[in-house]
């Protein structure tokens, strides 16, 4: 019951907001804040039960949604999804507060979309039916498209369409794969499909495994985004309003990496292992490439966007290392990146609200008029560059350590990214906050307001907490990852066809039985 309430409260809030008169801006914002806060508090109630049984599905609901084809409303939560759900429910009230004054046009639609987005995000992490998952995956796309397209900066339409088409291209392939699986297995229910794959009632040929894996992988890789599918991200971030950037970086990207861990690894373990080498190569390329391109960005948000490409490379590296430490690090890093990059986009947004520019060159010397804003930015930056005792260090360390156990060369190349992260972050920080401040800039720069303090403090506390008190968060992740890795070891025996030609592979794929 609790879980369903958490999932549907945002939707109820969305519908409720639609009935508000559009002039009542204060009431709209307050309602959005209260609903999202309620959802957050309720989501904390999930923790004890998941802690008790992190590998099982807690709060499971499994009822029929559409009779034929049999699509089920099947939701549940386990150690893998627990903190991602809480990250989503925490960030939504924070983004409501962040947007409090920033959003001036179409206030009602904006906050309604935020709640709809929350509904989609939570649903993605809870869905245990493949079709339901697909629906939630798409539900997030629509509000984000409009957040960028309506409340974004100058090139917003281009960015929104690019974002939409890129991710749609990926998810259409995934939909095809889901339908194919349904046709082979007769169900969309994920646990049942997994069980059938495990006990051999649903036996996929290696060709089938490969293509299905690729379809899912492509959808998630676009979302992550994995190099070279990343070019939508700088545009989307560069043009999105602050709240959109925060949600996009903190949660929406994680839907890709979550999907890899939740679906790609357990369902197609053979294909996942076989293709790991080139995926890891792309991940490491992304780590270094993203960092190098971030280094020379003149625009702050684009800089942080490229840094995300670099950071998410660590996550993908961790996932495809097939190692407990690396996978623990990868999932932990999803949360870490959510907290610290969310905070970075928030603070960049606060700079933008004051100076109305995202160009680094328009700043300089901000530390003098706004010392506390600078201090918060400094802590966030240090978290982002992986300073020990702050959150990102733990994730990066585990990923690299795990990767080193599998292949030391991977760790050597990936660790270069850690050097480079200091380069681009410190350089941006210096140009923005140090030096003499111009009179014009000084007149714009006031320090953090109480509302802004309320948004940044929870994230800074989390950075320190997740960096030192990892035992609060890591054990449930670790337990569910152990299960996932166990799943990738079973079901690796399947018949290898005698080198089918590409055309026959395609034919087999298109052959609807």
């Amino acid at each position: 019951m609790l879980l369903n309430m958490i999932l549907f409260l945002p939707l109820a809030g969305f519908l409720l907001l639609l009935f508000f008169p559009r002039e009542q801006r204060g009431a709209i914002k307050t309602t959005a804040l209260l609903v999202s806060l309620l959802v957050f508090v309720a989501s904390l109630g999930l923790i004890p039960e998941v802690r008790n049984a992190p590998t099982a599905m807690s709060y499971e609901t499994n009822v029929s949604w559409i009779d034929y084809p049999p699509i089920r409303y099947h939701v549940g939560i386990d150690g893998l999804s627990l903190w991602l759900v809480i990250l989503s429910t925490l960030l939504t009230p924070i983004t409501v507060l962040v947007s409090w004054n920033y959003i001036q046009k179409r206030v009602k639609e904006f906050f309604a979309f935020l709640l709809l987005l929350e509904f989609g995000m939570i649903g993605v992490f809870l869905a245990m039916d493949l079709f339901l998952f697909y629906v939630f995956f798409e539900v997030t796309l629509v509000p984000m498209y409009f957040l960028i397209g309506i409340w974004g900066h100058d090139k917003r339409i281009y960015a929104a369409v690019k974002f939409f088409l890129y991710t749609l291209a990926g998810s259409v392939l995934m939909l095809a794969a889901i339908i194919y699986l349904y046709n082979r297995g007769g169900t969309f229910d994920y646990p049942i499909l997994l069980e059938m794959l495990r006990n051999g009632r649903l036996a996929l040929s290696s060709t089938e495994q490969f293509w299905l894996f690729m379809a899912f992988f492509f959808a998630f890789a676009v979302k992550v985004p994995l190099f070279p599918l990343h070019t939508w991200l700088p545009d989307a971030h560069g043009e999105a309003p602050t709240a959109g950037s925060i949600i996009l970086a903190s949660v929406l990207l994680k839907m890709g990496t979550y999907g890899l861990v939740r679906f790609c690894l357990p369902m197609f373990p053979g294909a996942a292992r076989d293709n790991a080498p080139w995926i890891v190569a792309l991940a490491i390329t992304g780590i270094i490439y993203g960092a190098l391109v971030a280094m020379i960005q003149p625009n702050m948000k684009r800089l942080v966007a490229y840094s995300s490409v670099s950071h998410l490379g660590f996550v993908v590296l961790g996932i495809f290392s097939f190692n407990q430490l690396a996978l623990d690090g990868a999932v932990y890093q999803m949360l870490n990146h959510g907290v610290s990059t969310g905070a970075l986009f928030m603070l960049v947004g606060y700079l933008y609200e004051r100076r109305h520019s995202l160009e680094i060159a328009d700043y300089g010397g901000v530390a003098t008029p706004a010392p506390f804003l600078s201090a918060m930015f400094m802590i966030t930056m240090l978290a982002s560059v992986g300073l020990p005792t702050l959150n990102n260090f733990v994730g990066e360390f585990l990923v690299l350590q795990g990767a080193a156990q599998v292949n030391f060369t991977w760790a050597v190349f990936a660790a270069v990214g850690v050097i480079l992260s200091a380069v681009y972050m410190l350089w941006m920080y210096q140009r923005t906050f140090f030096g003499e401040v111009s009179e014009e800039l000084r007149s714009h720069m006031h320090d953090l307001s109480p509302r802004e303090w309320a948004t940044i403090i929870p994230l800074v506390v989390l950075m320190i907490w997740m960096g030192t008190g990892t035992q609060t968060f890591l054990p449930v992740i670790s337990a569910s990852n152990e299960r996932t890795l166990e799943q990738t070891k079973t079901n690796v025996e399947f018949q290898v066809n005698a080198s089918p030609s590409l055309s026959s592979q395609v034919k087999e794929l298109l052959n609807v039985r």
Binding site: L165, A404, Q430
Partner: protein, 616 residues
Amino acid sequence: MHHLWLIPTIPLAGSMINLLFGRRLPKIAVSGVAIGSVLLSFLWVLNVLSGLGGLEEAHIERYFTWIQSGDFNVGFDLMVDRLTAVMLLVVTGIGLLIHIYSSGYMAHEEGFSRFFAYLNLFMFFMLILVLAANYLVLFVGWEGVGLCSYLLIGFYYLKKSAGDAGKKAFIVNRVGDFGFSLAMFLIVVTFGTLDFARVFAQAKDMPVEAGVGTLTVICLLLLLGATGKSAQVPLYVWLPDAMEGPTPVSALIHAATMVTAGVYMVARSSVLYLKAPLAMDAVAIIGLVTAVLAATIGLAQNDIKKVFAYSTVSQLGYMFLALGVGAFSAGIFHVVTHAFFKALLFLGAGSVIHALEGEQDMRLMGGLRSKIPVTFATIFCAAVAIAGVPPFSGFHSKDEILLAAHHHAPWMYWVGVVTAGMTAFYVFRAIFMTFFGSYRGHHHPHESPWVMLGPLCILALLSLGGGYIHIPHFLEPLFPLAESAHESTLVYISVAAGLAGIGLAWLMYVAQPGLPDAISRSFRGLYTLVYNKYFVDEIYDAVIVHPLRDGSRSVLWKGIDEGVIDNVVNGVGRSARNVGSVLRVMQSGYIRSYATWVVLGSVIVVAAISFLGGSR
């Protein structure tokens, strides 16, 4: 339990108080909190050490699990053994003196509370570093002191050069940390743990590696980390620039404590290094090269802090030489004596700069002997100590190193002796340029207040007599005394080299002041090369920094990202322009129509599936 955690935590508390409330507190309260916290920490160190007695065994305290994944587990564990005890006393003792000095030196500066908050934070991380019972906690301290160094170098953040120097220090250290991290990964792969006790227990039973084995690779990677933090070739370039920070910072962080962290870490890992002779040779050679290179640059600098900075680099090279030839305890001995006399040199220089209202160019000094006599007397004590004049502190530790080096390879001894001569020369050159002759500047020099002179006097006593604290003997349970040559001739030669350096400096800067110009004219090329620090910074810029930056911009960003990938994507987009016009229709601005589209889309998909499912 002896509550070791209190040692670092008290300064942390001081730092937090000053960070949060310092702007509203009067200066006396700010410095009171800062000095008081370090004093308490120092007293707690004394309490712990007296409680632990002889420390024949390491005392370990385990607090809580930090990271746990699979079989891998690392905790927040602290420990004290004799090596840590020495470092604790140096860090808190010298730290206390420098905090007291700073309350006078910084009295008229902006950001008084910020300065002390950072300085206390540094104490926290440095104490974590020396108390750590495993590599990962050591790394916490390691990165933390790097952060504080960054913050304090960039303390005068309005100056671009200060921001640049801080950033450079952080990034160059990151290159070293890259090596340190990889070493840790390899240690876990090899030993399954990062815990000192367990790693070293296993390593003790391993054979000495003849070629390049795992232990050698680990040690070389750790060495890369150490060259960053302890400013050795090829990563020494950040330390001279670090002099942009306030002078007490140069004394505490960039001379006495943080930069010796690399020496400490290698000594801590001595069990590993003793199994990897090739890595030991690498340590010795890097130390020796650094010692000579930095000493030659020090000969020609005119900024008083730059002279002492290159001197620090050079002396750290000496310490690495000691480690590399197996004389670990001599290396730590030199860490201690160097902390005394180099902290004193910097604080003395700070007193001079304070007297001259910020002037650092020695060509605009001179004749200060009579104007600031206490400063002169104390800094002179440091100078004779670093020059290796017996029986003062530097003589004892340097001698241990040189004799051990002679036993290892006589040529190393001879290079060390030449460096000792250069050291004596450039230090006394600085003394003579600053305090002798007649005053060449335009300020009105005034002696510093006693809150600054007090610490100078205590450090002067330590510089003179510190050599009789026989550290190597105290460390014997950890490091077997290295075999070393016991020929008094060798001692006489090194002392003579030091005295010759002093004499030459006297000749050139007091007796015959025209001589330096004449020499620099006749060796124009060589002088230019040395004066410009062998153009190492320029070479790094041209070979690494510029290609990386320009390549990233033109090849990666404009080339691959926008040129290749986006062109493909936009090409696809153009051919699907119709889709775009559909989207424009959809974006009609009314939420009801959006909702319609969402519902419509879902219906189409469900219908499609029903159709497909029906055909089954």
